[in-house]
Symmetry: C2
Subunit: 214 residues, 2 copies
């Protein structure tokens, strides 16, 4: 009997253990994406994975731990994906406008290629609550993710490249539109990601640029 559950370190994991955990996580993503948060019972996840329910409890301390591992996993992969894109596109001193564009393109590209993962994570973040009914991931989503955008906007305004607007409101708008893309992709997998991305980039390009009416 091994009674220790890792939360972050990938150190002392058996090959079997790591493989099982990954397998369970993959199937959990599938079930959440297909049946929603409420429909993702341990029974259904186990059945979908082809294992017994008890085995999930063996590898994860409880349902909460499983969902938290799910969120951490996708979040991390998403972050890496976007960062790789940035490394390829951005020179050390790119303009804020270029950075905004890269931000949008990176995020939307990840969503387009990982719709199920992002859909699942969003579902969990939105619904997972503790015993007292408080959203567990409520603030994480919000505050951590707005920071990057706000920085870009403030830099752009300082450089005179962006018009004057409330960076916080603009950041909220960007995240809402980006996250919304998830449902477009999940709803109809044939959406034209490139076209949507181009439209969104143009939208925020115009939204941030000083206007000179004719």
């Amino acid at each position: 009997m091994r009674s220790n559950f890792r939360t972050s370190g990938q150190s002392e994991l058996t090959v079997t253990e790591a493989a099982r955990r990954a397998q369970i996580l993959r199937h959990t993503i599938d079930v959440v994406a297909e049946r929603g948060y409420a429909g993702a019972s341990l029974n259904r996840i186990a059945e979908h994975t082809g294992i017994s329910k008890g085995l999930i409890s063996y590898h994860f301390k409880g349902k909460a731990a499983l969902l938290e591992a799910l969120v951490t996993d996708v979040f991390q992969r998403g972050g890496e994906f976007v960062l790789e894109g940035w490394a390829a596109e951005l020179s050390p001193e790119s303009s804020p406008r270029t950075m905004l564009r890269a931000y949008l393109e990176g995020n939307l590209a990840f969503i387009a290629s990982h719709a199920r993962d992002v859909g699942a994570i969003v579902e969990v973040i939105r619904n997972h609550r503790d015993a007292e009914g408080r959203l567990v991931f409520g603030n994480v989503w919000t505050e951590d993710l707005y920071g990057d955008l706000i920085q870009i906007f403030e830099a752009g305004q300082a450089a005179g490249e962006f018009r004057r607007f409330d960076p916080r409101v603009m950041a909220i708008a960007v995240r809402r539109v980006v996250d919304g893309f998830t449902f477009q992709v999940m709803g109809s997998p044939d959406v034209d990601a490139a076209a949507f991305t181009a439209e969104v980039v143009a939208l925020f390009d115009h939204a941030t640029t000083p206007m000179e009416r004719s």
Copy 2:
């Protein structure tokens, strides 16, 4: 024993019956807003309302019917609210830009003054599924609501007032930002609704206007 459940007509409702239904709906909104969709059990709603669980079943055919009544109710009140605003602000032939502005102001004003209601409705629409796991309100939300915006955008483009963009993508963006305001209000009730509205109006004003870079 009266065994008929009304779905639309308000005709043959006892005073008591109408009052109870309204009371139950109000408390359901509260519970959903506070504890989320999953936390809104009939037991909790009954307790919150101060009645027995059986009474809910007496006035509503089942939980599904209750939630659908909830959605219909808020949806209708919201629609009336926005339409009243339009009647006051819009002349018969207002410009598309004015209409877009009125659309945003009307929607955001309703959300600001009815955050709990809108929060509850969004929660239900997002999570309520039938036995097979399909979202019950999935398309309702989407298609019905985009129509108005798309019309405005197409009119504006035809009149040369708006730049060329995909009306559908812009409509999605508008709805996402508008709906997102709900969570801002619910998260911190002290948000400055007027300021947020002004920012959003400016955002989409710029986003829809042809750009003439300096």
